[in-house]
């Protein structure tokens, strides 16, 4: 699939403009702070430590968020009902970025996936099992959690996601294509 070629620039009708001097300026984001209320995350992280998954459900519209949301945008209230979630998930979307490695100058592929935990209505970015070739990934691919060896009550407890075997006729058709 990935047909890498050397061609990088494309010709177009260029216009030339006089070059004037420039004045430098910077925006120092490192003198900024970001504040978050994560009180609602506490029960969720505590459960992760026990190896369990929970989502926060809005009692008005029943949508479940994982990780929990402070406010349900649909109803403008704070969701307050915890529901158990299964360990299975599906790929919601993914992409592969191609970045130049500063040191070697080689192009490296860096995949990113967003998954949707079964039984919830939100997506989150995550890591897939290292043996998965992203070029075989597809939207809707079924997954299962691979827990970390030591649970410490943070999102890193979900080490990555393993693929569940989903061989079926339509999938076979897809592979042929």
């Amino acid at each position: 699939m990935s047909k890498m070629t050397r061609r990088k620039s494309m010709e177009y009708i260029k216009k030339e403009y006089a070059r004037t001097r420039t004045m430098p300026a910077s925006w120092y984001l490192n003198s900024y702070k970001y504040k978050y209320n994560v009180t609602h995350m506490k029960p969720f992280l505590d459960k992760l430590k026990e190896g369990k998954l929970v989502g926060l459900q809005c009692s008005n519209c029943n949508r479940v968020s994982f990780p929990p949301k402070l406010v349900c945008g649909n109803c403008l209230i704070k969701p307050d009902r915890w529901v158990d979630l299964r360990e299975t998930a599906t790929i919601a979307t993914y992409t592969i970025t191609y970045l130049k490695d500063e040191a070697t100058g080689k192009i490296i592929e860096k995949p990113i996936a967003c998954i949707r935990q079964d039984g919830c209505d939100t997506t989150i970015i995550t890591e897939l099992a290292p043996e998965i070739n992203y070029e075989d990934a597809y939207v809707g691919m079924p997954l299962k959690i691979h827990w970390a060896d030591n649970l410490e009550g943070s999102l890193s407890d979900i080490k990555y996601y393993d693929v569940i075997d989903d061989k079926s006729k339509d999938m076979a058709l897809r592979e042929k294509k």
Binding site: M23, P24, A25, Y28, L29, K33, Y34, K35, N37, T39
Partner: protein
């Protein structure tokens, strides 16, 4: 709910910018490099701008790039000043021990003011309306810093 938990994280990155000054300002900075004040003049109302501008805001008149240029002297009048211990840069602000004296100076022959430090002067001596003169940086490079500040004539 029990005790609130507030997470505070710090930013890490920095964005760099390089502002094109444009042809009008470029000509002005060329002048500064040679320790000269180059201004331009609105052909309609006759106002003289330091630094030069493309458009006169008063008459909405576009001033052509190739004409209406005037050379001004390096003397001017102090129209306003303030003394502040605060030093501000793009990273943050802090209080410094030595107060800085900042003045608005109208270069003779111009209708605008420029803001620079007043040097070698005691706060008690300063009066608005007094005559001041540019103190040039020894090495100029075509930037606002070429003018070190203003001194009393």
């Amino acid at each position: 709910m029990s005790e609130k938990i507030i997470n505070i994280t710090k930013g890490l990155v920095r964005a760099e910018f390089n502002f094109w000054v444009g042809l009008y300002m470029d000509k002005f900075y060329d002048g500064l490099e040679q320790k000269k004040i180059v201004a331009n003049k609105c052909p309609k109302c006759g106002d003289v701008f330091v630094p030069p501008r493309k458009i006169c805001g008063k008459c909405n008149e576009t001033i052509a790039l190739d004409q209406n240029w005037v050379n001004l002297t390096d003397t001017g009048t102090l129209t306003n000043y303030t003394i502040t211990p605060y030093k501000i840069n793009e990273r943050g602000s802090r209080k410094v021990k030595k107060d800085q004296i900042i003045g608005m100076v109208q270069i003779d022959g111009s209708n605008t003011t420029i803001v620079y430090k007043l040097l070698k002067i005691e706060p008690a001596e300063i009066k608005t309306g007094m005559k001041v003169k540019i103190e040039w940086q020894e090495k100029t490079k075509g930037a606002p810093e070429d003018i070190k500040g203003f001194v009393k004539v």
